[in-house]
């Protein structure tokens, strides 16, 4: 089983990536990078990462979230985060990244925020 599973679905003009597993150095980080790059190549620039199933992330995974955020912003798009676990929220708090990312607990609210 893959370290990180990513399921893609479309909600209007927002692409939602439902993620489960680990975003850690190696396979998990690469899977996230590959998915986001592919969406940008397809012109999908409004991306919501549903991280509810991500039980573990390391500094490499956090770095990949930051890279995704800056790459999407550079293309004039938006990246938002949904359903952070308490641990991930704690990590984003101590790294001060919670002030950078737009974070939601409810998918409808997250989708509306893109409008």
């Amino acid at each position: 089983m893959a370290e990180l599973n990513i399921n893609e679905r479309q909600a209007g003009d927002v692409t939602v990536l439902d993620m489960s597993g680990k975003i850690t150095i190696g396979e998990g980080s690469v899977a996230l990078r590959t998915a986001v790059r592919r969406l940008l190549e397809e012109g999908k620039k409004r991306i919501l990462l549903n991280l509810g199933g991500v039980g573990y992330i390391d500094s490499s995974g956090i770095g990949e979230l930051v890279s995704s955020y800056t790459a999407i912003n550079k293309e004039g798009g938006q990246l938002k985060l949904l359903n952070l676990t308490q641990k991930l929220q704690d990590l984003l708090t101590i790294t001060k990244l919670l002030t950078v990312f737009d974070v939601y607990e409810n998918e409808a609210d997250a989708l509306n925020s893109f409008k």
């Binding site: 150095i25 390391d58 500094s59 770095g63 990949e64 890279s67 800056t70 790294t95 990244l97």
Partner: protein
């Protein structure tokens, strides 16, 4: 609580990070450490082993990463040794500074320091780098004399 020591010698590959983390989790399950402390130790060990594999040994499979785990009544101490040329920990930029927040890397040492009670480095020219990390069982009782 009796003292226990475990030593591991692992290849310089990315999958060594998961191998080391699994060994540490197994070690901690016998150590009576709290779940919160175990989470922090796991984070710190993964970052330390990642640094040893990627930055220290530069994924040279002829070089090993040596991990030492010690459990005592007061603390759990973990050392990670690589065969790299070393670095200056004080020169590593603060990843929470405004100019660094959007950088993709540079948070590993910050996590190690955040989750452990003590982190220090022993760097021997030509002899590799050892990072020693300590997690006290009861930080409130520590009076700086242990």
């Amino acid at each position: 609580m009796t003292a226990e020591t475990t030593e591991l010698s692992l290849p310089s590959r990315i999958d060594t990070v998961a191998t080391a983390a699994a060994a540490v989790a197994e070690f901690l399950s016998r150590s009576g450490i709290t779940e919160d402390a175990a989470f922090g130790i796991d984070m710190a060990v993964r970052e330390a082993v990642t640094n040893a594999v990627v930055h220290g040994n530069r994924q040279d499979e002829n070089k090993t990463v040596d991990v030492s785990l010690k459990s005592s009544p007061d603390a759990v101490e973990i050392s990670v040794h690589d065969q790299g040329t070393g670095f200056n920990p004080e020169a590593v930029p603060d990843p929470t500074a405004d100019e660094n927040i959007l950088k993709a890397s540079g948070r590993g040492i910050f996590f190690m320091r955040s989750f452990m009670d003590e982190v220090d480095w022993l760097i021997r020219p030509g002899g590799g780098t050892t990072v020693r990390m300590l997690k006290r069982r009861n930080p409130q009782l520590h009076k700086g004399d242990s």
